[in-house]
Amino acid sequence: MMEHTLISKPDFDTQTLEVSLGPQHPSTHGVFRMNVVLDGETIVKLKPVMGYLHRNHEKLAENMSYLGSMPYTDRLDYICSMTNNFAYALAVEKLAGIEVPERAQYIRIIMAELTRLVNHTLLIGFLLNDLGAFFTPVLYAFREREKILDLFEEVAGSRMMCNYFRFGGVKADLTPDFLPRVKELIQNYPRFLDEFEALLSENEILMARTQKVGVLPKELAVSASITGPMLRASGVPYDIRKVDHYSLYDRFKFRVPIGEHGDVYDRYYIRVLEMRESIKILDQAVKEIPSGDVISKVGAGFAKAPRNFKPKAGEAYGRIEAPKGELGFFVVSDGTNKPYRYHVRAPSFINLTILEDMCLGHKVPDAIIILGSIDIVLGEVDR
């Protein structure tokens, strides 16, 4: 546990103030509540209260076929629906032993990296909104994000709830307009990132507000099973794309940025650097994508008749490097066409457990920024 000191001396007769931040609050990123005990303006104790968005996702999946829960996984982390689909498809393919053709793998990687761009863009916009920059960075971020969401709509039919991945491939092939537009995006996105950095990364006010705030030491991060950009900002070089070698990521050359101090500024800047690496992966994928099937024959049969998909009894855990951390699906089958048990390892939920330790000794505005830098989405936290 981190050390903290009380500000007031014990011989004063002081009282602490208990405040509840949320659930309706302009910047808690959803319905989330924090019970905070304040001493003056310094935080002495903090307890997060979640569960306002619980929708019974895991139990619902036990009553539907495997493919029927694919649209529901879109709604877990509702900003990055493609990566949720990806993790679930990986888990079930491991369970049933279904192969995926090469073109489908490339399409999956392109969609996953585009989703990473979408998520990180939104996060840096909203972190700066929490700091008080009055929506200007948010609207710049959304302007760029719209271009990627338009691409998703063209291919999958919907901007956010894509429901695009199937067991054994993806649902439909790319339209002829897609790849030229991705190439155009690859040209223009670094310019937008440069402009964003000029606006904010060297802004002294931002640096003064976020450096040395919310420090997360390496050992604590590893022992609390934090994953994702938070872990990498604290100095641990762990990226599941490099560790697990899932789905053809070995063919692409990209680096993984590592932070040093583990404070809010590091977490913000690591995400900016990760976006640049994602653009590199996109560049290579778009050049090398082969032609071919987008779904294996077995997978297509199951997509047409989900009630016939009866994997052998057993269990499988499939995980990916989602933009927020390690997203894992644990599926247990008992031989019928409905899963016996279905569990989601949500990164936002696990990353939230360390909120109190990071916030002690700081003030209320800092707590808001620290919460913003963890990057939670309530759909995932509460499932």
Binding site: G132, T136, I205, R209, I258, V364, P365
Partner: protein
């Protein structure tokens, strides 16, 4: 053209003297500037809100309000109607009298200081010979009413906002007041008319070394005094919902808003008067110059709002106490030296002393200044 409003004023007085009985004519003569300010103040504030929304919108790549009237020109009227017809909610445990009085009392100093602003040559409502002192004193009372509003709401968040606001405004009062002192030293009078007349043509005070530093300090303290970004902690929208005016709705909120925008206008006008030469300028009429300078400063304040995040409370006060205050003291001494030397040498001496001071202060505050970082990569090949 330059004396247009003065002629209109005199024409009305002549008409009143001709038509009305004597005592009524006197009252009319006194009331004209009051009526002019009472119309000009709120109308300015209404259209300033519209300009701010449209300016911020264009910075953020979108249209501002453009549905109500062409280019949104009737939007302030729509907002006014909305505020008037809203339900007035007072919390149950709130202090009713203070809750009612706070928004009313906060508008009073905002309106009163219009009286000492020189809008043009011979166009000042009341030529007090302690004009600047009156202005500074009146804008100091705003702090008291903000705290009253926060206290009367009986709400923890509002109270936190109110206390922060008091701390911020007190810390920024001192550099605010003291940075005007060099101008007073050089001019020798508190009256705003005298200050403007001491800057003929283009010899504005901002072009002198102590004037430039003074302008910079005064402008930053002005932004802090009216609670605008980056110093808008008291009404921090994303942290404490809405700070000290959380529990106010309808017309009371409209009054707070009006007071804030009138403060923005008057404090920009004061900066323009004291440092930028008021209504002095070569070709255009005097009141056009005045409005031009004031509105440029207001637009810069709005530009700040669209760009910067907010400072934290302790960093804000650290900035005032550890940097601005020392610089203000040195500025006063430098202005006195400049005034006494009276040769081409005085500019160089003044500039040299100020630059050395700024460098020394940066060195003292080195721990507060953030540094740029360099990041490493893993799996780099």
């Amino acid at each position: 053209m330059d004396q247009l409003f003065v002629h209109i004023d005199q024409a009305i007085i002549h008409w009143a003297q001709a038509v009305l009985p004597d005592w009524m004519a006197v009252i009319v003569a006194m009331k004209i500037p009051i009526v002019a300010i009472a119309i000009f103040g709120p109308v300015t504030m209404m259209y300033l809100t519209l300009i701010e929304r449209k300016l911020l919108a264009r910075i953020q790549n979108r249209f501002g309000p453009n549905r109500v009237g062409k280019f949104g020109l009737l939007q302030p009227l729509a907002d006014g109607v909305k505020m008037l017809t809203k339900e007035d909610i007072v919390p149950e445990k709130a202090d009713k009298i203070a809750h009612l009085l706070a928004p009313i009392l906060i508008v009073i100093p905002a309106l009163l200081v219009f009286a000492v602003l020189p809008f043009g040559r011979n166009m000042i409502a009341v030529d007090l010979n302690i004009g600047v002192l009156f202005f500074l004193a009146m804008s100091g009372t705003t702090t008291l009413f903000i705290f009253t509003a926060a206290w009367a709401s009986h709400n923890k968040f509002s109270l936190l906002g109110g206390m922060r606001s008091v701390a911020q405004m007190i810390s920024y009062e001192i550099p605010f007041v003291l940075s005007v002192v060099p101008v007073l030293v050089v001019v020798g009078s508190f009256s705003t008319v005298a200050i403007v007349e001491a800057q003929p043509g283009l010899h504005w005070f901002v072009f002198t070394p102590w004037g430039a530093v003074g302008f910079f300090i005064f402008f930053i303290c002005a932004v802090a005094e009216v609670n605008r970004t980056p110093f808008d902690l008291p009404e921090a929208e994303s942290e404490l919902v809405a700070g000290f005016h959380t529990e106010y709705s309808g017309m009371k909120f409209a009054l707070f808003y009006m007071a804030e925008f009138m403060n923005v206008f008057t404090v920009s006008a004061l900066v323009a008067t004291v440092f930028l030469g008021g209504w002095q300028g070569p070709i255009l009429p005097s009141w056009v110059w005045f409005l031009l300078k004031t509105y440029t400063l207001i637009l810069i304040m709005m530009w700040f709002r669209g760009t910067f995040p907010r400072l934290r409370a302790d960093q804000l006060m650290g900035f005032a106490w550890k940097f601005l205050l020392e610089l203000t003291f040195v500025n006063i001494i430098v202005a006195a030296i400049w005034y006494e030397m009276r040769s081409p040498l005085n500019h160089l001496t003044a500039a040299a002393i100020l630059i050395v001071t700024i460098i020394v202060l940066f060195q003292f505050n080195k721990t507060e200044i953030p540094k740029k970082r360099i990041y490493k990569y893993a799996y780099a090949d």
